[in-house]
Chain length 150, copies 2
DNA sequence: CTGAATCCAGGCGGATACTG
DNA sequence: CAGTATCCGCCTGGATTCAG
């Protein structure tokens, strides 16, 4: 946070100021760094969607399974456990028959919802931009002979 | 955007207001939705790290390879191509010998850097929280007999 | 209903060797 | 230097079945 704006960045001025300066120098690029590991954990498709869903309020297992289209029970449970273990969601079991389990965001999980929501909004807002870029890329000469990544 | 604060959310009041209301109802949970696909594309480890690195300014291939610890040439190129195709980064080739290639963020990519930075900052700020939760979880009775997810 | 267990294919992703 | 090509292990993740 100290204003050590060193002069070794001449041409690029598009950096978002506050956040990135700190991040870059904190070992985020190193696998052994805990921040890296947490980032890796939350930066995956299913995790994000689960957080999104739970932001609407507590939900049952079957609700999540229905809302998150295409998720297999295995992946759902796996990610739910992962999130629970990290303290992002809470799992509440009702000893009834048939059983009932509610999942909800913890305070920690709720604090993550905001950043993830911003990310999701970005995705929506830039659909046309990405499509346009993809179309241009396909018509460019360098798109010939490249193994399609994904 | 209209203030339709319907009353069907009684107990949970932790939702971040602005972003999530829109996201949830826009098919983000559906694989066929373009927003979903873009999100899936940017929400992966290597992509995020590449964006982070390039936020510091334009970099050469070898610079990226060195900075992003543990990335293989295959993954690096694959993700670079993916990002280029989506219009997030620009690839500039210098016809010199030995060859030189610079990668840099486009305006679109720069606009994504901010959300990603926020996410990365969240990861760092909550390292202790996640660790504490994990420790508690391990000591809880329900952590017995569960297949460790990741 | 909420998962657990098992099976299995596809692809992610690392290692290596090789080009212009 | 900046990739490309190839091989391949392994793990993700889907499908299915079963249990409490």
């Amino acid at each position: 946070m100290a204003p050590n704006l060193n002069a070794n960045k001449a041409e690029v001025s598009y950096l978002p100021q506050p956040a990135l300066n700190r991040i870059a120098n904190m070992g985020i690029f190193d696998t052994s760094c805990e921040g890296h590991q947490i980032l890796e954990k939350i930066a995956n498709k299913w995790t994000i969607l689960i957080i999104y869903a739970l932001t609407q309020g507590k939900k049952r297992y079957s609700d999540l399974k229905q809302q998150i289209v295409g998720i297999s029970p295995k992946m759902l449970v796996q990610n739910l456990r992962s999130l629970e273990r990290s303290g992002l969601i809470e799992r509440k079991v009702f000893p009834t028959v048939p059983p009932r389990v509610d999942y909800s965001l913890t305070a920690l999980g709720a604090s993550l919802a905001e950043p993830l929501a911003i990310l999701g909004e970005w995705a929506y807002q830039h659909i046309p931009d990405v499509n346009k870029a993809a179309k241009q890329y396909d018509n460019s000469p360098e798109s010939k002979g490249f193994w399609e990544p994904k």
